[in-house]
């Protein structure tokens, strides 16, 4: 069973309604964007240990003491028969699928200065439960919460406690020979001189004989096999040498997770909520960790993360981005959803990896075609403070699509509400006689943009032929004539096209004030990035934004 829909009202700044959640999804967003509160809201409803902690004023958004509401729609899919019967008639059929709906309501009471809370299971035919008792859903579902700062002691204690319970319920016990030696141990303790000395001390007291008559006392040792669990601990050691060793955070955290994995009730359905799994782990391990958790075979896994290494496209087909907006006094969180399916993965050219994943964490992204552009902007951000602070202030990142089409990246980024700028060359392919650059970014215009383009070129319809030119010509004169208008139209749509057809190298030379230097231009064109790098280093080029170049195509967007 997994949560498919979540509605939260007035809880710790969250007012959201998210539908069509998948079995495994990832939540990203800045700090204080509500990721943890979202997870807490789910735990408040489904996890008894959290639910019984009462809500206070601070749990209402902006301390407004208003009603708090949390709704979960849980899809039952592969639930076991025993659990299905535990949920009995609360199961709803919606579009031929089985669901269970849970409502949490809290109303503030001025008398107690706390919230009066209740949980309702079922919709039309429902039953209300107090929040401090267990309800049918508790018997069916366990929420496994993995703390961003792992708690090894707690997990260890839990593990042993559960094992002890299992051995009492079932018949798994420690070897009877051990039991026997414990009995013998008890006898030895009882017979120990010191211990018998103690009982003698009790029995030799003057004056009590009258009352006790012929009764005496002895001391009994009661070391019990079932208490043994309290004396057990888990110690790491090096296998080859059998030496004990201290392990650091990374391994401790992983051990903690391992113990959690084997410490829960098999009969119940399980939903895992894991916050910031990246903590204490270096990047490669972060990738492994996620692979591990996905092997748990749980019904649903909800991750929150700040790290691109956690995003694994093969597993997480859904990414939610929480964005806070500040309109007036109150901040509001909205959720943008990105569903990634097999086709998207292919369209990206299998390039969906952590480098691209990093993009998702930004608010604004500039997509460039290749290495040279990327190198330039990297260098600029190191050398020019204004540019650097602009990037930080706008939470902007610069990424290369390595020559693969911009469209899939733009589509995905827009879904996450990320603003996209595209820097592309206005290049012409002489062999095919095409304006390849413009054609490449044509779909970045919407319907009205395309209409305006038609108007500019005085035509009725945009066709393939439009961006070509005749055999005996060197260019399309109409397009050339209107080039300025065309490029400014595209600029409105975030596409940065130069008017010339000489590519990034020309833009670069214009930027550093060497626009007309033909020799340098040819040099750069010869071996793109390699020569660019050499050129900058050898000539000690000043990469700064100044009065002359601040409106150039490369950095002009900063002035918007």
């Amino acid at each position: 069973m997994f949560i498919q829909e979540v509605t939260i009202k007035n809880f710790r700044g969250l007012d959201i309604d998210i539908k069509n959640l998948k079995k495994d999804f990832l939540i990203i967003g800045k700090n204080d964007s509500g990721k943890s509160n979202f997870c807490y809201a789910i735990r408040k409803v489904l996890d008894y240990s959290i639910r019984k902690i009462p809500l206070t004023i601070s749990d209402s958004s902006n301390y407004n003491k208003g009603d708090i509401f949390i709704y979960l729609k849980i899809k039952l899919e592969d639930i076991s028969l025993a659990n299905r019967n535990n949920l009995s008639h609360y199961i709803e059929k919606i579009n031929n699928e089985d669901y269970i709906e849970v409502y949490f309501n809290a109303k503030f009471s001025e008398d107690t200065l706390h919230y009066n809370e209740s949980i309702t299971i079922g919709s039309l035919d429902s039953k209300e439960y107090a929040t401090n008792i267990s309800n049918p859903l508790d018997k069916v579902l366990d929420i496994i919460y993995v703390n961003p700062n792992y708690d090894f002691e707690k997990d260890k204690k839990n593990f042993f406690k559960l094992r002890q319970q299992k051995s009492i319920d079932g018949n798994e016990t420690i070897n009877p020979l051990i039991k026997k030696s414990v009995e013998e141990l008890n006898v030895s303790i009882q017979n120990d001189d010191y211990i018998t000395g103690l009982s003698n001390e009790i029995n030799d007291q003057e004056g009590f004989g009258e009352i006790f008559e012929d009764v005496e006392f002895k001391i009994k040792s009661d070391v019990d096999i079932s208490n043994i669990y309290k004396s057990l601990d888990i110690i790491p050691y090096v296998k080859s040498t059998e030496d004990s060793i201290n392990i650091g955070d990374g391994k401790s955290k992983t051990l903690s997770m391992l113990l959690q994995r084997i410490s829960y009730n098999d009969d119940k359905e399980k939903i895992l909520i894991i916050e910031e799994p990246e903590n204490h782990l270096y990047p490669l391990l972060q990738k492994c960790y996620v692979k591990l958790t996905s092997k748990f075979n749980l019904d649903q896994m909800i991750y929150t993360s700040h790290s691109p290494y956690i995003i694994d496209y093969r597993k997480m087909r859904q990414i939610l981005k929480f964005v806070t907006t500040n309109n007036g006094k109150h901040k509001k969180t909205i959720c943008k959803t990105l569903n990634i399916d097999e086709k998207d993965y292919e369209a990206f050219g299998f390039m969906l990896n952590e480098e691209i994943s990093e993009i998702f964490f930004y608010d604004k992204v500039l997509l460039v075609e290749g290495d040279s552009e990327k190198y330039f902007y990297n260098a600029l951000s190191i050398k020019d403070e204004n540019f650097q602070s602009y990037l930080v202030k706008n939470k902007m990142g610069i990424f290369s699509v390595y020559g693969i089409d911009f469209a899939p990246a733009k589509k995905i980024l827009n879904k996450l509400g990320i603003k996209v700028l595209i820097k592309t060359d206005n290049d012409i392919f002489p062999k095919q006689r095409r304006y390849a650059g413009i054609a490449r970014v044509l779909n970045c215009l919407d319907e009205s943009g395309k209409e305006r383009l038609c108007k500019i070129l005085n035509i009725n319809e945009l066709t393939k032929e439009l961006f070509k030119y005749e055999e005996n010509e060197t260019c399309n004169s109409l397009i050339e004539e209107k080039m300025t208008e065309i490029t400014s139209l595209f600029k409105e749509y975030g596409v940065l096209l130069s008017c010339h057809h000489d590519g990034f190298e020309k833009d670069f030379l214009e930027f550093i004030g060497q626009a007309d230097n033909v020799e340098d231009f040819n040099y750069l064109k010869e071996a793109k990035l390699k020569n660019l790098h050499k050129y900058i280093v050898d000539n000690k080029v000043e990469l700064t934004i100044n009065e002359d170049n601040k409106n150039s195509i490369l950095v002009g967007f900063m002035n918007e």
């Binding site: 659990n83 019967n85 008639h89 199961i91 059929k93 089985d98 035919d125």
Partner: protein
């Protein structure tokens, strides 16, 4: 029970064992008087429950609240009934099927209300609903029927639930139209058990068929087709008979721990032409021994003398009194108004039983107030049974009757009031309702329902008007009252000797003794 034949006990164990261990999915059991029906059901249910997993359970229904309470108590001690439903069939339909889905049904019927709790109402005793239940849908005006169902639906849309045959139709409707209901029932319950299944009406039979066929529940029905007494309330014993043709495997328990084997066999052979008497070396069925004072003084144990009419019983009673024989003659009250009698006689008699036995000197026979309250709850809601069912010593029996009947909104017409007052002044009537153990009694066959005696004398003064199924069932009831000895005699006065009737009985009895 102490005098039971060891052999008989073994046979009973064997027959019960077959049933308890049977594995067919649809089972019907005919079990006669004293056959340990409840014991058999309890054993079979606990066996089934011990093998059930996945939080599943069974449904066990009886007809009266008393019976289901008893069943629940016995099962609680033996197994885990937390996932099972034990109650009357009406309450299962309400609490187990309709109530959990009430708002979804309202929505399905395009209603707008949300009902937190249904208001329960009983159908009035003489209403259309109870008529249809009695006589079935075939004999009823289709328009009236449809109108009633529409009214029921409208009431329901407003949160009112009337207990009537409509409940079963609605339950079937839910199972067929809301797939979640069918899934819920099929997943949660494995089997349904019904006790006193001979009294199921046609609507209840329909529901059971749907539960078996569409929800894949195993069915186990146990009853005694020879003791159906609720036909006037719509019971369909013939449907019970017919279950064998619907895929049910039939089992019989024909061993009784009340009657001697030969008596039970004789009674069975009368009511069932196909019954084959197995016979033994002893027959307790005797002919031509009239209950004269000499005869009565020579037998051991108490006796019961049965006549067909009150006139004959009364005459014989006078004769025995003169001879100083210790015997009680009693007859039940009678009400001239047939309609009133059909509806209310059972209720009135039960009130009388309570009135005359709540302080019975024999504590074994005391009618406890809680049990009376449970009886009343079969017909009216708990809330309506106010605390004043206690008997106020100032009032007389008629006043008490009126008080209880008013809870049913039934008022006693003046004529009937007078009729009853007169009768209840007479010992002969009052004696009928005072329970006595081991008393000697004389009465009509009809009145002997539910009683037993060690020796029973049945005296026929005329051949039967119509030797049909109903008459045969009457004979079965009469003969199965006897625990140890049955004496059948034909009084000389009306030429009954030599009739076909006499020879039928003699012939059947002759098979009781194994020749040789």
């Amino acid at each position: 029970m102490n005098n039971i034949d060891q052999r008989l006990k073994e046979q009973l164990d064997y027959q019960q064992g077959l049933i308890i261990n049977s594995t067919e999915k649809k089972v019907v059991v005919s079990a006669g008087p004293g056959s340990g029906k409840t014991y058999t059901i309890v054993q079979r249910i606990s066996k089934e429950l011990s093998n059930i997993k996945f939080n599943q359970g069974i449904i066990a229904c009886s007809f009266t609240k008393e019976a289901s309470k008893q069943l629940e108590e016995r099962l609680e001690q033996k197994c885990d009934i937390s996932h099972s439903y034990i109650g009357t069939i009406d309450s299962f339909v309400l609490m187990g099927i309709i109530d959990p889905y009430k708002n979804r049904l309202i929505k399905h019927w395009n209603g707008k209300n949300i009902v937190k709790k249904l208001k329960i109402r009983m159908a009035e005793m003489r209403s259309l609903a109870s008529e249809i239940t009695k006589y079935g849908t075939k004999y009823y005006d289709k328009v009236a029927y449809k109108n009633y169902l529409n009214k029921w639906k409208n009431d329901f849309l407003n949160g009112v639930y009337e207990i009537s045959f409509a409940n079963y139709l609605v339950a079937i409707y839910l199972i067929r139209n809301l797939p979640e209901v069918k899934e819920y029932l099929s997943n949660k319950y494995i089997s349904i058990y019904i006790d006193e299944a001979q009294d199921l009406n046609e609507f209840q039979h329909m529901l059971i068929k749907v539960l078996a066929d569409e929800c894949q529940l195993n069915c186990f029905l146990i009853g005694d087709k020879n003791q159906s007494i609720y036909q006037f309330r719509g019971a369909r014993p013939e449907q019970f008979y017919n279950l064998c043709n619907l895929g049910y495997t039939e089992y019989k328990i024909n061993v009784s721990v009340r009657c001697h084997k030969s008596i039970l066999e004789f009674a069975n052979s009368i009511v069932d032409d196909k019954y084959v008497i197995t016979g033994s070396d002893e027959s307790r069925v005797n002919f031509n021994i009239l209950p004269t004072s000499e005869e009565l003084s020579s037998i051991s144990g108490n006796f019961m003398i049965l006549f067909e009419t009150n006139q004959n019983a009364s005459l014989w009673y006078q004769y025995l009194l003169k001879k100083g024989v210790d015997v009680i003659y009693s007859k039940p009250i009678d009400i001239a108004d047939k309609d009133f009698k059909d509806e209310y006689l059972d209720l009135i008699e039960e009130i009388l039983f309570f009135y005359y036995n709540f302080d019975n000197k024999n504590t074994k026979l005391t009618y406890r107030i809680d049990d009376f309250r449970t009886y009343l709850s079969n017909f009216i809601l708990e809330e309506q049974i106010k605390n004043n069912i206690l008997i106020n010593f100032e009032s007389n029996v008629i006043e008490y009757l009126i008080k209880i009947l008013s809870m049913f909104d039934v008022s006693l017409p003046e004529t009937i009031k007078i009729e009853l007052s007169t009768q209840l002044c007479e010992d002969v009537h009052v004696n009928h309702y005072i329970k006595r153990e081991d008393a000697n009694r004389i009465m009509t066959i009809h009145s002997s329902k539910g009683l037993e005696a060690e020796n029973v004398f049945v005296v026929f003064t005329q051949p039967p008007f119509k030797y049909d199924d109903e008459y045969k069932r009457k004979l079965f009831v009469a003969f199965s009252r006897a625990k140890n000895n049955l004496y059948i005699s034909f009084s000389n006065t009306s030429g009954i000797h030599g009739t076909q009737f006499e020879s039928i009985l003699l012939k059947k009895a002759s098979a009781l003794l194994i020749s040789g």
